[in-house]
């Protein structure tokens, strides 16, 4: 470091700042006045900024600034605006019929988007986030429907639920043939094997098909229908297809027949607004299994 007052550059005759890097010295060239003024103005501006806007963290809070500005309030306003914008679209959704919604690409896209988020919030705990279901909770992507897979039927199930206690809910349950003493242990095993045979699954050696058919006709046909094709009025599943809600292995079937089944789907009417329920019906229908 050289004293900048005495160090003079021999080429230009100007004094230097005294800074030197690799033998290169910096000339002491003053900045233009406007440039320096701008620099000071930015400092003043930043101080104003500190005062006007919420800025400084305090021990347990922060400075709140002036004029009531807060980004949280801004977000609240934005959200309210968003609701307003969506309001129109949701009204359109509420007004259109289910079939029309599926035919209109814009409404379909809206219903699917809305349905997807609502599904995630309300239905995913039972049916899974992708609606793939689990044991006892139907897979909504497939084409097997307990209460029917048309748009209207799906909507009805969502609205009123199954065994939900709602006045219009779907009713009907699988009786506990073993617990209630209607069927004996060996009869249950026989009918379980008979039911497996309905959908082409293997049966136990020495299983008496005729006996199974007889037990089935006396006890099960009332709900599951002739040949076990099911009955959507009562939510009785089709026993001849490849989809099993509570499992198709012999042990699961024996458990179902002896203990009965009565899964509950809550009614969403009153908890969700009609347009939202509609959107969800369309969403579930569009998952691919809808009739």
């Amino acid at each position: 470091m050289t004293d900048h007052h005495s160090d003079i550059d021999s080429v230009s005759g100007k004094s230097t700042t005294g800074h030197e890097w690799d033998g290169i010295k910096e000339l002491n060239t003053p900045l233009p006045r406007w440039w320096v003024i701008c620099f000071y103005l930015t400092i003043v501006w930043s101080i104003g900024y500190w005062v006007v806007y919420p800025a400084w963290p305090l021990v347990s809070s922060n400075t709140t600034g002036m004029f009531g500005y807060s980004s949280r309030a801004d977000v609240a306003v934005e959200l309210a605006n968003l609701e307003k914008i969506r309001g129109d679209k949701m009204t359109a959704l509420g007004a259109a019929s289910l079939a029309d919604i599926e035919k209109d690409p814009a409404l379909l896209a809206l219903a699917r988007a809305k349905g997807k988020t609502v599904f995630g919030d309300n239905c995913a705990p039972c049916h899974g986030s992708g609606a793939a279901g689990a044991k006892g909770y139907p897979n909504l992507n497939d084409d097997d429907w307990l209460w029917g897979g048309t748009l209207d039927q799906i909507m009805q199930t969502i609205q009123f639920g199954a065994r939900s206690g709602h006045a219009k809910t779907h009713e009907g349950q699988m009786l506990a043939f073993g617990k209630d003493g209607v069927l004996k242990g060996d009869e249950i095993v026989t009918v379980a094997n008979y039911v497996r045979s309905l959908s082409g699954l293997s049966t136990r050696q020495g299983f008496d098909k005729a006996k199974g058919e007889k037990i089935f006709a006396e006890n099960c046909v009332a709900c599951h229908g002739d040949g076990g094709k099911g009955n959507q009025e009562m939510g009785a599943p089709n026993l001849t297809d490849k989809i099993w809600l509570y499992g198709s292995d012999e042990a699961s079937l024996i458990e179902t027949i002896s203990q009965g089944r009565a899964g509950v789907m809550p009614a969403w009417e009153g908890r969700l607004d009609p347009a939202t329920i509609k959107a969800m019906a369309v969403y579930v229908h569009s998952l691919g299994g809808g009739k």
Binding site: S15, W34, K103, P105, A132, N141
Partner: protein, 488 residues
């Protein structure tokens, strides 16, 4: 450098130098000559293109914008004559920026800061504003006198000042006006703007650009180049010893003497320089420097000092180009009695040109061959596969079809991969079984939910590659995308 000072004679110029300095106003004198003509020409081209391009029409058919160059922000489209770019094609802009940057490097390695001197908007508009100023207030001497005058408030002077600023503001306003026309149909917007029906944002942008043009070209001028622009500082790292910069050829100019003295000394057979110390080169310089002090950061390489000195040389009967595009290597070569050499083709320029050619060529190639029909496929992740009641497997896909052409297209979708597949598009009743046909409106995208079902027994593999073919059934234009068909 030839100019050295005896350190013992030096006194500090600004011993207690101030932290800031008042601006030294520059009064560049008008000049005529080769480089001035080039500058006028380039100015006319640049400003002509900028101001009038939005009014050029281009027929793209019904319902499509008919403006040749249009940045359609609401619809995320960019139109450039026959090219129409979509947001997913921003890489073309990236490519353009790379080409532009390398072109700047190339210019630099060939001719120094010719961008600054001839093409930079700051230079072009400042030059235009100077022209207006000269026209109204007169040339250098007159303006200096008027600025110094102790009685500045004569009516004549005031009207001059008012006139100058009005014209400046009009130019600035038109500059802002032309800017917004690139973002909207120009004739319509002009009509809206003059009837005060235009969108607020247009007025705001016009206001911003009017202000910046007026301030930057009217007041800041060379200070933008010297203090605000980073380029002068960066370009020092990009230039090299072969680059041709505006150079005072001191090998020929020194010793400077007056015209008369030079003639006397020459008559005596003495060696004298060609520079007659007339300060013409300084007077015309828009950044107010003396190029005879060697290369300086402030110099924007505009070449006006070359024109000024050429005129002087012509008058005193000496060869032109005492100042010219040259470099130190040649000055030294001439001092050593060797012939100067000019090397435009060097490793550096070859590499830059190659990069420009490669990227430019690639862009042109992809633009020429790009498809106006495109398809993207996304497999459902949850659930990946669904077993149906008859035991068959179904996979769901989100398919996005892009129709970049200017007309509606009927698209047929085919799937290839699983054995005996059936296909269904949610919300679409297919007329032809298993071959959904969908109409995609012109210049838009459609997102579809596509279900592919195949019997499990024919497709025992856990995962089968699938290929979706989409085809314009009218024109046969096709595109395809691949994914997988998965068993549960």
């Amino acid at each position: 450098m030839n100019k050295t000072v005896n350190p013992n004679e030096l006194k500090p110029v600004d011993d207690n130098g101030p932290l800031y300095a008042a601006r030294k106003k520059v009064y560049p004198q008008s000049v005529s000559g080769t480089f001035r003509r080039i500058k006028w020409g380039l100015m006319a081209i640049c400003l002509g293109v900028y101001y009038f391009l939005p009014f050029v029409r281009w027929n793209r058919g019904l319902g499509a914008p008919s403006q040749a160059v249009l940045i359609d922000l609401p619809n995320s489209r960019f139109y450039f004559f026959f090219i129409e770019l979509w947001p997913q094609e921003v890489y073309y802009f990236t490519g353009l920026l790379i080409v532009a940057a390398v072109a700047l490097f190339l210019m630099n390695s060939v001719g120094g800061r010719i961008w600054c001197g001839y093409l930079c908007p700051q230079t072009v508009w400042t030059d235009l504003f100077y022209a207006v100023e000269r026209l109204i207030e007169g040339d250098r001497r007159e303006r200096m006198k008027k600025d110094k005058s102790s009685d500045p408030l004569k009516l004549e002077r005031i009207s001059e000042i008012v006139l100058k600023h009005s014209i400046w503001l009009m130019i600035a306003w038109w500059t802002g006006g032309a800017w917004v026309l690139y973002f909207n149909d120009a004739p319509t917007l002009v009509k809206e703007l003059v009837t005060f029906q235009g969108p607020m944002i247009a007025y705001i942008w016009i206001g911003i650009l009017t202000a910046t043009t007026y301030i930057l070209a009217g007041y800041m001028r060379e200070q933008v180049c010297t203090y605000m622009c980073p380029w002068p500082r960066i370009q020092a790292a990009l230039t090299d010893e072969w680059a041709l910069n505006v150079t005072y050829r001191y090998d020929r100019g020194e010793k400077r003497t007056s015209v008369k003295k030079a003639a006397e000394l020459r008559a005596l057979g003495e060696q004298v320089g060609d520079c007659v110390d007339c300060y013409q080169c300084v007077a015309v310089c828009p950044t107010g420097i003396d190029i005879r002090n060697g290369p300086q950061m402030e110099c924007i390489q505009c070449g006006l000092c070359i024109d000024a000195c050429d005129n002087v040389m012509a008058k005193i009967g000496r060869p032109k180009r005492l100042i010219g595009y040259d470099n130190d290597i040649n000055i030294h070569r001439r001092q050593e009695g060797k012939a100067p050499i000019y090397r435009i083709v060097r490793a550096r320029t070859i590499v830059y040109s190659a990069i420009i050619a490669a990227i430019g060529g690639f862009m042109v190639y992809t633009l020429a061959t790009r498809s106006l029909l495109d398809v993207n496929v996304l497999h459902d992740r949850n659930p990946v596969a669904v077993k149906l009641s008859d035991g068959s497997i179904r996979n769901a896909y989100t398919v996005r079809l892009l129709n970049k052409s200017g007309y509606d297209r009927a698209i047929a979708i085919d799937v290839e991969g699983p054995v005996n597949p059936t296909m269904h598009v949610v919300g679409v009743d297919s007329v032809t079984p298993d071959r959904p046909i969908i109409v995609i409106p012109r210049d838009s995208t459609s997102e579809l939910r596509l279900l592919v079902t195949a019997p499990a027994e024919n497709n025992p593999e856990k995962s089968i590659p699938v290929r979706f073919h989409v085809m314009d059934i009218g024109l046969g234009v096709a595109a395809s995308a691949t994914d997988n068909f998965v068993a549960p």
